[in-house]
């Protein structure tokens, strides 16, 4: 039933909901919505990398590479922002490609820490070199997105719509990649590494491809952030931010495309809206940490597994209703 109605009914309803969403919110919530939209792209791109079985701690740094590159293209070189953004994302992809050579000599936890080190080197270079990166304070006065047909993208609502368009298109691309031949090969590289290489798949090549594509979209998310805030600084992309990405992805669950997105949406709403409303500013990280522990102990497959559990319940219940109908 739901399957058949998905495209003609559910999708337009979801789109309408997303378009109306910012109008019932306060200004700070609207700003939060912009960040949430950008973070959705960040976690969805991260999931593409995890498909090959590698967990990176450098993902937010690639986001930062996109943000810095696009900021410098538009500010220092004077390129128009709509051109600087894809170029910035390409720079993130290129940096990821170069780093893939040392990084993919490692696997597992070594890759995890190796990617952290590589990202940290990039971040320290931003801090070290005032020209062109602005040192610890980062870059300021980054040009914003230009007006289109008299519509300004300075405020959060309009920028949210812009981000929504960019992120939706990117999610569509990521979804298609995952369900293409390439995406299936990513799965094979993860679960049947040796078998995959024995049938002629260059596993290194596919790991690199996943890293480059994931970094491109992380970079694109970074460019949105940079041109919205008008500033970027090295601390915005440090390991604490990365830890949050990990938490969103794992609490959401990585089995399906929508798991990480569910994770970032639910945890952001819980963290920023509910806990902030409760007014427990000092205890917020404490409750958040406890929530994390509880989630991983009792929902090891993530929030998305709740949905499949409910579905199983539902399907288990169905034959009995059939039987009841026959009995009557």
């Amino acid at each position: 039933m739901l399957e058949r109605l998905r495209w003609p009914v559910v999708l337009p309803l979801a789109a309408l909901g997303l378009i109306l969403l910012p109008h019932g919110l306060s200004f700070s919530q609207q700003e939060l919505l912009v960040f949430l939209t950008i973070n959705v792209l960040l976690v969805a791109s991260y999931r593409l990398l995890t498909l090959t079985g590698e967990w990176s701690l450098g993902h937010v740094v690639f986001m930062g590479v996109g943000a810095y590159a696009s900021a410098l293209f538009s500010k220092a070189l004077g390129l128009p922002v709509p051109l600087a953004m894809p170029l910035g994302a390409l720079v993130a992809a290129a940096v990821a490609y170069v780093l893939s050579f040392p990084l993919f000599r490692m696997k597992g936890f070594y890759f995890l820490i190796g990617s952290f080190a590589a990202g940290e080197v990039i971040r320290l270079l931003w801090i070290k070199f005032r020209i062109p990166f602005g040192g610890p304070k980062g870059l300021k006065l980054i040009p914003g997105f230009p007006d289109i047909a008299g519509i300004s993208f300075f405020g959060p609502v309009n920028f949210y719509y812009l981000a929504l368009v960019v992120v939706s298109a990117s999610l569509f691309a990521l979804y298609r990649i995952e369900h293409s031949r390439i995406g299936l090969t990513f799965h094979a590289v993860h679960w049947q590494d040796r078998l995959a290489s024995s049938v002629g798949i260059n596993t290194r090549h596919y790991r690199t491809l996943a890293l480059v594509i994931a970094s491109f979209f992380a970079g694109l998310a970074g460019t949105l952030l940079g041109h919205y805030l008008g500033t970027v600084n090295p601390n915005r992309f440090d390991v604490e931010e990365m830890v949050f990405v990990l938490i969103w992805v794992i609490v959401g669950g990585t089995r399906t495309f929508f798991g990480p997105i569910l994770g970032v949406v639910v945890l952001t709403v819980v963290n920023e809206v509910i806990l902030r409303e409760l007014g427990t500013e000092a205890f917020r990280p404490l409750i958040y940490g406890a929530l994390l522990i509880v989630a991983i102990l009792f929902l090891p497959d993530g929030l998305e597994s709740l949905a499949s559990r409910v579905r199983e319940r539902f399907e288990a219940a169905r034959p009995s209703t059939e039987a009841k109908r026959q009995a009557s």
Partner: protein
């Protein structure tokens, strides 16, 4: 100060940094080796050790060494609790262990920040004497104490691992948990010991250095980052590797900090690690199958 004396003073500083780092890194490696868990909360164990001293010695006026001993027992006990309540249920889920340790990190940081405030604690050093080596080069007694404690504790751990039945059981678990279990070794018990000892070592490192560093709730952050670099360079799961990498990293970092600056030293340290990983993807003393 003449060049030779500057060099000598830097060597003294590096030895101190190495012994402090070895205490933290060896515990981290022990936990990873036996339990297969990357303990992100290790820096918070270190932070708690420092806060026990801030509370017992700085606040309650107990003798410093007694406060250090309390720190060792308290943090070690906390490690046991964490093992039983958090890591044991997630034993077959390596990412679960990592995430739960991040949750623990957030909880411990927030709890300390709520109890003591985020401002740095003021802990006067109990040992103000400086032992002179030459006219202008000296080693503060507080630092010497850390060096001696590191040597004593790590030698003790080494003897325990090599000479006692339990130590052998622990190493067997680190090599192959399944085979060890088949020999009748209790995985629960070895995990408990690894976690207790590992946490206690981090706690004692924090307790001993509390008067020397800024004691504040987020002090574990930079320590855990350095410890990760050290255990990767040494090879995950290798205790000897952790000690040697601690020495290597501490000397490199201290010298570059002295002769260039801190950020450069961080970059050089990270590049050292990437270099080691490119040449030896499993660290200096690591084995390929424990990745």
């Amino acid at each position: 100060m003449a060049m030779t004396e500057l060099l000598l003073q830097t060597v003294v500083n590096a030895v101190y940094a190495a012994s402090f780092m070895a205490l933290v890194a060896v515990g981290l490696v022990l936990i990873f080796g036996v339990m297969g868990v990357i303990n992100f909360a290790h820096g918070e164990f270190y932070m708690l050790g420092a806060y026990v001293v801030a509370f017992a010695y700085g606040g309650q006026g107990m003798p410093f060494l007694l406060a250090v001993a309390i720190g060792l027992v308290f943090v070690g006990g906390l490690g046991l609790v964490a093992e039983r309540a958090l890591f044991r249920p997630l034993r077959d889920n390596p990412l679960g262990g990592l995430i739960v340790s991040i949750g623990l990190l957030l909880v411990l940081q927030a709890a300390v920040a709520a109890g003591f405030g985020v401002r740095a604690e003021n802990i006067p050093s109990p040992f103000r004497a400086i032992i002179p080596l030459t006219d202008s080069v000296g080693i503060p007694l507080q630092r010497l104490l850390t060096i001696v404690a590191a040597i004593v504790l790590l030698t003790g751990l080494w003897l325990f691992l090599k000479r006692t039945r339990l130590g052998v059981a622990l190493r067997a678990c680190a090599q192959d948990p399944e085979a060890a279990a088949l020999q009748g070794i209790s995985i629960d018990q070895t995990a408990r010991i690894a976690m207790g000892v590992g946490a206690a070592l981090a706690g004692v490192a924090g307790a001993l250095t509390a008067p020397l560093v800024r004691t504040y709730p987020y002090m574990g952050h930079s320590v855990i980052v350095t410890a990760f670099i050290v255990i990767i360079v040494g090879g995950m799961g290798s205790l000897e590797g952790a000690v040697i990498a601690s020495i290597l990293y501490a000397f490199l970092h201290t010298f570059v900090t002295t002769f260039a600056d801190g950020v450069t030293a961080d970059i050089v340290g990270l590049l050292l690690m990437l270099m080691v990983l490119i040449v030896r993807p499993h660290g200096l003393f690591g084995k390929p199958d424990r990745a």
